[in-house]
Symmetry: C2
Subunit: 490 residues, 2 copies
């Protein structure tokens, strides 16, 4: 066997094991008995120990030195394995294992603290995790910036300076749009009523199918915090149900279908190689957001959805499809990121980005986090947080060690804005299909121009290749201003 083949065979097993670890995470958040937390933490730690050992295996270094790529795919595989090897080799095995164990345990503690609205039960645990993450960041940064080292795990090649500049460019237009919208004379009506769980889930399945979700290679379950999980032949989605708000379930589902569709759409020849996964969290989020928002909350698709929901629930509190479109895009003051409308969503991200940079840099202590969150929220949103579950306890991310992850959501929105502009230009009659509840032309365009490539191109290069232009926040902001000016009759 050539060095490259040795490398590929070894990596194949590592990819399979990492897929197992991901499946174990899915199990923990959907079906695991609540008394199994200690056992699961040990299991996660054991898997991480095995994965870390493989990623730091000295043979990798030898094979990487000797591997000779035959084409661009081979070269990219070598680049990605080398990157993974280099990063893993900087992290001591003890730290990797301990992080897996602590974050598995912390998930349950966070969920209980949130349910009891008791930040004091969670913050000490968060502090432990922050200390471990800072240790990890120091190891990874190798003298460089700590936050950049973490961010690089989720969005390779991006720095906090770039993100900060992007956010600075976005903020004024978003804030202005929000002010206009909240102050507009016309305000859409909320959707009121009781929407039974079973009906919501049935509709959610219909929506997932409309967006091309392949049920033979996936499934849908309920989770506290919807997520998607897995790759290739086994990419699962989760959703949640609030019986007073069917949009929560339906748009969570379409969002997660965007993620899973990306994984399902990757060239199957890439399975069990580093090319066989979405290339970054930002690229991933671009898919979930374009499915959910630009397509799912557009006038054409909501027209179809209005009819479906009216039939399923036996009438709706809004009079027609136009009113329904406005309702589905209603902008209101609110505490919760995952329930935020398109106008305000990125402002929620900016808050988290700044706070977590301060935490990682040591400028903010965990014990001051509640106060810092609440002060910042009041400043940014003009509303005082009423309780911790609506504030700092709302997201699971920090509990599971995801520092540097939040900005990829906003980046995903920016990418989605770019992709949407290109998609509309390429498929001018897309709305005709969407109005029939068929997202196929959009899914096909995204699959062909982006999804199938998996990890082959770096994130920004991938988007620029698909759109034919540089990545910029402008298409997203133009789209938002146009859409919401029309809805709010500004």
């Amino acid at each position: 066997m050539s060095a490259f083949d040795e490398l590929l065979a070894f990596q194949r097993q590592t990819e399979a094991l990492s897929s197992v670890a991901e499946r174990l995470g899915w199990d923990q958040e959907t079906v695991m008995p609540r008394g199994a937390t200690e056992q699961r933490a040990e299991e996660m730690a054991a898997m991480e120990a095995v994965l870390h050992e493989r990623r730091t295996d000295p043979r990798l270094g030898e094979w990487l030195d000797r591997a000779e790529p035959e084409d661009a795919e081979d070269a990219r595989i070598i680049e990605l394995i080398a990157r993974d090897h280099r990063r893993a080799s900087r992290i001591p095995a003890r730290l990797a294992t301990e992080l897996a164990r602590q974050t598995s345990l912390a998930q349950g503690i966070w969920a209980e603290a949130r349910a009891k609205d008791a930040p004091g039960d969670f913050l000490p645990v968060l502090n432990d995790i922050l200390m471990l993450k800072r240790e990890e960041a120091s190891a990874l940064a190798d003298g460089g910036d700590l936050y950049d080292a973490l961010l690089d795990d989720y969005e390779p090649g991006t720095t906090q300076a770039e993100i900060a500049a992007l956010f600075d460019a976005m903020r004024p237009r978003l804030v202005a749009l929000r002010e206009d919208v909240l102050g507009a004379a016309f305000q859409p009506q909320p959707l009121t009523g009781h929407f039974p769980q079973e009906t919501q889930l049935r509709l959610a399945r219909t929506c997932a199918t409309a967006f091309g979700y392949d049920w033979t290679r996936g499934r849908m379950d309920i989770a506290v915090h919807p997520f998607s999980s897995g790759r290739w032949q086994d990419s699962r989605i989760t959703t949640r149900v609030v019986e007073t708000d069917p949009f929560n379930c339906l748009y969570s589902t379409i969002h997660e279908v965007g993620h899973s569709s990306y994984e399902q759409g990757i060239d199957s020849d890439y399975a069990f190689t580093p090319l066989g996964r979405g290339v970054s969290m930002g690229a991933h989020e671009s898919q979930s957001r374009i499915y959910e928002n630009q397509l799912g909350r557009g006038r054409a698709f909501t027209g179809w959805l209005y009819q479906r929901m009216s039939d399923a629930f036996g009438g709706l509190s809004v009079p027609d499809a136009d009113a329904f479109y406005a309702t589905a895009n209603r902008v209101t003051p609110g505490f919760i990121r995952t329930e935020a409308d398109e106008v305000q969503y990125n402002l929620h991200i900016m808050l988290r980005f700044d706070l977590e940079r301060d935490l990682i840099a040591g400028r903010l202590d965990v014990e001051d986090l509640v106060e810092a969150w609440n002060a910042r929220f009041l400043r940014d949103f003009g509303v005082a947080v009423d309780r911790p579950a609506n504030g700092v306890l709302q997201d699971v991310h920090w509990a599971v060690g995801l520092f540097g992850y939040f900005p990829t959501y906003a980046l995903g929105n920016v990418y989605a804005g770019c992709l949407h502009a290109a998609l509309r230009a390429a498929v001018p009659d897309l709305d005709e299909a969407l109005a029939r509840g068929e997202a196929d032309p959009a899914v096909e365009w995204l699959r062909e121009n982006m999804q199938r490539h998996g990890g082959l191109y770096a994130p920004r290069a991938l988007i620029e290749r698909a759109t034919g232009t540089d990545v910029s926040e402008k298409p997203l902001l133009d789209y938002l201003e146009e859409k919401f000016s029309a809805i709010y009759r500004l």
Copy 2:
């Protein structure tokens, strides 16, 4: 760290990884998307490769040589790890990995072949697996008997000669009892009607709770072939539902609770050591069978169940609790092992035991298996198999490589007979509790005398310690003759 502590720390991680592999097996049989078979086979193979590497790790040999036990528990831990290390070291890594991959793939192929009643789709795959298992048996046997080498994996210390002698002692009395029962003037009525799935599952949960199942450390799902899975804090059960036969669901559930109860009942100090699992398949089956049969199908518990089922289904086709008791223990000619009554069950096992010994010894070819099965079934049961799904395709075991496993079911029945006699002597008023739907006194006795010990004692020693007498088929046969003579008014 002492050599023993090194050994323990290493084993702790191995146990956690083996628990992950078991969880992956659960996933495959309950929730996995049907299109994920190839991916899952790779994942299972990767986990097996890691486990095999750990079990054959040369450091184990060094630690085992130097480890100094401080007490009987330490000594048994060393014995069990050494045994595992010795067996694993005889199997080439390639073979272990290939077996994991092939048996994962074969499961789906078996299920489809069974559904289509097409043995030709499955037998070539079975032949591949048989060849791999024979190779494994040769490696393990080290010149000794092939079948004994496989049997030893499930029931350490037992030989096919012992099993054959036991079966020879059991067969005449079982056959005579069956003839008497099937020829009796009185025949219990079958239960007829339609029993909705949701109601069956609700009752199944009630029964599981009655038998002490700890829902905080387990859950129940639907599977084609009910099984239990996992240990300590995460021991799950599965069941199946046939809407014309509620006994199928309810007694499958109680049976699996027996298995899971054993795992849940093991001393939690043993978690992640080789003592933290049921000691053998026979010991395991003794628990599932005593829960299901001696307790669950006894007059006292069925009296309570009769009332519960009458309430839940709005009346039953049998007139009273006595008639219901006879119905729940009805003996009829039938093809399916898992649906067999207590009288005939072991005859189904004897058939499989003889056929699989012939397969492993090379005296029977897979291509002749259908014919051999059908001929033997006709001879043993006096009925011709009507279709392969009711014959050789009915069990998943051989598809997943479980040769040498079937006899442990019969051994479990023998153990259950011994335990039941001792339990009744120790808890004379047990029926009073069972008549109230409370199995607690029985579960407590079993937990104290058997379950909590996990792997501490060898299987036969464990049963003999709990019962105070030698293991013998006599208590089981006495119990069956007494019970069925009374029911059938012989």
